[in-house]
């Protein structure tokens, strides 16, 4: 069988713990990490940044017809989430029986992202779940940004 073990292994810090980058020069945050800042390019001053993983659903869908690797997961929720530090990411929303809504606050959870069939490695990483009710309010600065997007 073929394995994508090296490819997966390389991205473990990002998949498990949302390690991205922050450009100190323009104060922009990036996830996944970038080697070049699109704002400052070679003038960038990049540092590693671990994202909190909390954010707001910008848009979402429920997938009923999936690619082969996800055929047994349907239906599942996919969303574009704006992390509180600013960047947007694509991710699955789990533990959400009432459906995903735009503007919903979410937090990161550790889940299986995929498997290489019965014999290969298991990909673990971050999905998102609705924030418990009492923590739903977002950080003031960024939630203002999100309301612009919505």
């Amino acid at each position: 069988m073929t394995t994508h073990a090296p490819r997966f292994w390389r991205s473990i810090p990002q998949r498990y713990n949302l390690k991205g980058t922050h450009c100190k020069r323009c104060d922009e945050y990036y996830f996944p990490p970038r080697n070049l800042c699109p704002n400052c390019r070679r003038g960038a001053d990049l540092e590693e940044h671990t994202f909190k993983g909390t954010g707001t659903v910008i848009t979402c869908t429920t997938i009923y017809s999936a690619t082969e690797d996800f055929e047994r997961m349907t239906p599942y929720h996919l969303a574009i989430i704006q992390l509180d530090e600013g960047p947007k990411v694509t991710g699955q929303i789990v533990s959400c029986p009432d459906g995903v809504k735009m503007g919903m606050r979410v937090r990161p959870v550790f889940r299986i992202l995929g498997k290489e069939g019965e014999r290969g490695i298991i990909y673990y990483g971050t999905k998102f779940a609705p924030m418990p009710k009492d923590e739903e309010k977002g950080p003031t600065k960024d939630s203002a940004d999100c309301s612009g997007i919505l």
Binding site: Y16, S95, I112
Partner: protein, 345 residues
């Protein structure tokens, strides 16, 4: 040197199936819930396994007491459902909780008591000053063959304990283990479901080992059941822990806070440790807890624990067992079969 629990965390998947729903499928009587004293059991999501549960529990333990993961010198993950036969659970947990790379790790398996064995290993390393903090985990997505009695109770969940010697929320006063070669329950390599000896799992296995370890510890410490405020025994079903408590002289009140099996089923390596966590969720400083696990095959580890003042500082730092139990969504048998991968395609 006083050793004990710096912090603890649990994780219980939010899905449940009612025991009556399983009985409906197999044509068993309505009284099965009462007979087992198990009414519903937790079911993992499609993308959860013993590793994801271990990570969530460990993250909760770190968050509860705001512990720096770089202090962890050992990670021992106990489970009878490690997703890999070869490839450690502990390394994945370590990376996912942001530990340093200077820690030792190994996976434990001892049926339902791998988690308490992991605690003992951590106590040894911390007590001998070889490491600062040890992380001991018991987590399982246990399997019961469709139609087997085990299917009524085999559940999913886990607990993680940070074992150290400072800032303790609870001191572990002593432990005592009782171990024999008793083949009451097993799963051979490559087999999807465990086998068991039916009633042979009772007297010669569970009861003999739990009572022997418990009595051994009380004898060593010179304590009696009434010296403890709470007691937790391994919970393969809702009847055994009640019966064994009575046998040993503990009351229903002592075991009540930690008796979680009626609501979530048997979480195997997580079972006794989730019961202890539920007890820590309510215990007051100075109170004592008596804990005895059981793992088929067979052995029991008994612990005597004393809660410290610090418990009040850390309690609210992570979700309690009750909060996880309350957050439930019910599945029918068909959805449960999908969640558990019982549908072979």
């Amino acid at each position: 040197m006083v050793l004990g629990i710096i912090s603890y965390g649990v994780y219980i998947p939010r899905y449940r199936i009612r025991v009556g729903e399983i009985a409906r499928v197999w044509g068993d009587g309505d009284d099965i819930s009462e007979n087992l004293n198990v009414f519903e059991k937790s079911v993992p999501d499609l993308d959860e396994d013993a590793i994801t549960i271990a990570v969530e529990a460990a993250r909760n333990a770190l968050a509860r007491a705001d512990v720096d993961p770089a202090r962890i010198g050992a990670i021992y993950a106990g489970s009878e459902s490690h997703p890999y036969a070869v490839k450690p659970t502990g390394t994945i947990v370590g990376q996912a909780i942001g530990s340093s790379t200077s820690f030792t790790a190994a996976d434990f398996e001892f049926a339902c008591k791998a988690g308490t064995a992991a605690i003992q290993a951590c106590l040894g390393l911390v007590g001998s000053h070889l490491i600062d903090i040890g992380l001991a985990i018991g987590s399982d997505v246990s399997q019961g063959a469709p139609g087997d009695m085990l299917e009524y109770t085999a559940a999913a969940g886990g607990a993680a304990y940070l074992i150290g010697s400072d800032n303790l929320a609870a001191e572990i006063e002593s432990f005592y283990s009782f171990t024999t070669d008793t083949p009451d329950f097993w799963r051979r390599e490559g087999m999807p479901y465990p086998e068991h000896g039916g009633r042979f799992t009772g007297e010669p296995a569970y009861f003999k080992h739990v009572t022997s370890a418990a009595r051994g510890l009380m004898e060593r410490l010179g304590t009696k059941p009434e010296d403890y405020d709470y007691a937790v025994f391994h919970q393969p079903n809702g009847k055994f822990p009640i019966r064994v408590a009575r046998k040993l002289g503990f009351t229903r009140e002592q075991i009540a806070p930690g008796l979680v099996v009626p609501m979530i089923g048997n979480t195997y390596s997580g079972s006794c440790l989730i019961g202890l966590a539920a007890t820590l969720d309510v215990a007051r400083p100075g109170e004592r807890i008596f804990v005895t696990s059981f793992g088929s095959g067979a052995g029991s580890d008994a612990f005597s624990i004393r809660v410290t003042d610090r418990i009040d500082d850390i309690r609210a730092g992570a979700p309690s067992v009750r909060e996880y139990i309350k957050d439930a969504e019910y599945l029918d048998y068909a959805m449960y079969a999908k969640h558990k991968g019982k549908l072979r395609i």
